[in-house]
Amino acid sequence: MSENKYILNISGLSAGYFINGEYFEAVKNANLNIKEGETFAVVGQSGSGKSTLAMAVMGLLPIDNGKISNGTIKFDGNKIENVIEKIRGRDIAVVLQDPHSYLNPVVKAGRQVYEAVEVHNPALKEEEIYARVKDTFIKVGLIDFERIYHSYPHQLSGGQKQRVLIAMAVINNPKVLIADEPTSGLDVHIQKQILELFLELKQKLNLTLIIITHNILIAKKYADTAAVMLNGEIVENKNTVDLFLKPEHEYTKMLLRHVKLENK
């Protein structure tokens, strides 16, 4: 893997929503280049546009009122709009916040992961898919495979649900994994486990990991590079060590000050 190869290039991206007929720009002229194999963090408070950015990359802004008004996104050198239908869920996957509502309540957990494999590998046989689900469940730390496979989501704990969702996201060996606030809605102890699981999977599967978070400490601890977003703009974007030692933008400085205050 060459150090300089970019897997994701976002240039001049503006995206937003029509609310009551008026256009609200949630992401303004964003430029990001994400290297293959790195852990990248997008930090910002809620409403700063970080989730919109992720949705724009996935091509999943709401059909009725979402819009990319400017800019381009390239995935592995290809314009994303040309390839996203094919690669969504296969080469690029997402894990979202609050696992409690992200599994279909009336479909068994295993079945939902099974679907995710089947849809991208129509040639695989049933046993092969099953074996792959089992393998992935164990990889994400769901040891009690049989039981969890046949459980409905309400019979699982929050941490288990999040692991099922992570299994679903990584089962097709994606190149890029976007984790959008993957630990909110989980208690502190589980949060740490889940974040460590991400790093472990990143090593094992050669992922490029993009963590979207409001918590600058997560960025500091886990990411190689970080971008700070404020009101839809990327105000600072550099490697994490520099970001923490020499923050340039007022907002970054403020975030760091708050963190320091909390830790005192």
């Binding site: 969504r88 609050d98 599994l103 009336v106 479909v107 849809v119 019979q155």
Partner: protein, 275 residues
């Protein structure tokens, strides 16, 4: 299915419907009389061991006519509801899921259909077409779906905003699969409840049409036809109204029981709470 059989109301409902289907199927074997065999010496006889449900104004055996009538009622119920479910669910899902212009077009069309009082629309169409059983089924099916379409649309509107649908989309699962795997199982309970009620409704509509002479044509019989023939004699021959009325009541009730039970079975949370 196993879970369904553990529910005693479901078993009751299923038994009644199964019994009815068997009765309809074996009608000629079960009764010594013909469907339209008349005996004018035995007019308006009360129920007895020879005529379980008595005889009507032409001396025909009511029990026999009801056995044959159950064929009509069940066929009308099932087939028209099948049409309703097919059209209503399809339009509802498409409309709710895709939203925007598709939604507007489908919903305005639904509103137009909904504007007509269904029964008069059916009357109008049947008056143009030949009044026979197939037209009745088709017309009931083709005019009664708007309610279901709106119900399904409303369910889908809230479902599609649910996070697991966005996860499915993010996993690249295509729309057809999302409908089949994620949306249908979630709306199956309202669908079933609606279907069970609609079967009853369709049976009633058929009865009403037969009453007006636009449904099943004599000498074929249907419950509605016997019921309405009985109204002229209600003071002297109660059995002509009571038995077909009871038959309709019990059938509709049985479908409701099944609908209710299916709702419980398809809702995994329900079971969890009960444990």
């Amino acid at each position: 299915m196993k879970k369904l059989l553990r529910n005693k109301f479901a078993v009751l409902g299923i038994s009644i419907i199964a019994l009815l289907i068997l009765a309809a199927f074996f009608a000629p074997v079960l009764s010594p009389y013909g469907q339209s065999e008349q005996n004018l010496y035995q007019r308006l006889l009360p129920p007895s061991s020879e005529h379980f449900f008595g005889t009507d104004d032409l001396g025909r055996d009511v029990f026999t006519r009801m056995l044959f009538g159950s064929r009509i009622s069940l066929a009308v119920g099932f087939i028209s509801v099948f049409i309703i479910l097919f059209i209503g669910t399809f339009l509802g899902i498409v409309s709710g899921y895709f939203g925007g212009k598709v939604d507007s077009v489908i919903m305005r069309f639904t509103d137009i259909i909904l504007c007509f009082p269904t029964f008069f629309l059916i009357l109008l169409i049947i008056a143009f077409l030949e009044p026979n059983i197939f037209n009745v089924m088709a017309v009931i099916g083709l005019t009664s779906w708007p309610g279901l379409a709106r119900l399904v649309r409303a369910e889908v509107l809230s479902l599609k905003e649910r996070e697991f649908i966005s996860v499915a989309k993010m996993m690249g699962i295509d729309n057809l699969k999302i409908f089949a795997v994620h949306i249908l199982p979630n709306i199956i309970s309202p669908l079933m409840v609606y279907a069970s009620l609609a079967i009853g409704g369709a049976i009633l509509t058929e009865s009403a049409l037969s009453f007006l002479g636009l449904g099943v044509q004599p000498p074929m019989s249907s419950w509605g036809q016997i019921l309405t023939a009985g109204k002229d004699y209600i003071y002297i021959a109660w059995w002509l109204s009571v038995f077909p009325g009871l038959a309709i009541l019990i059938t509709v009730l049985a479908f409701n029981l099944i609908g209710e039970a299916i709702r419980d079975v398809f809702d995994p949370k329900e079971e969890y709470v009960r444990k």
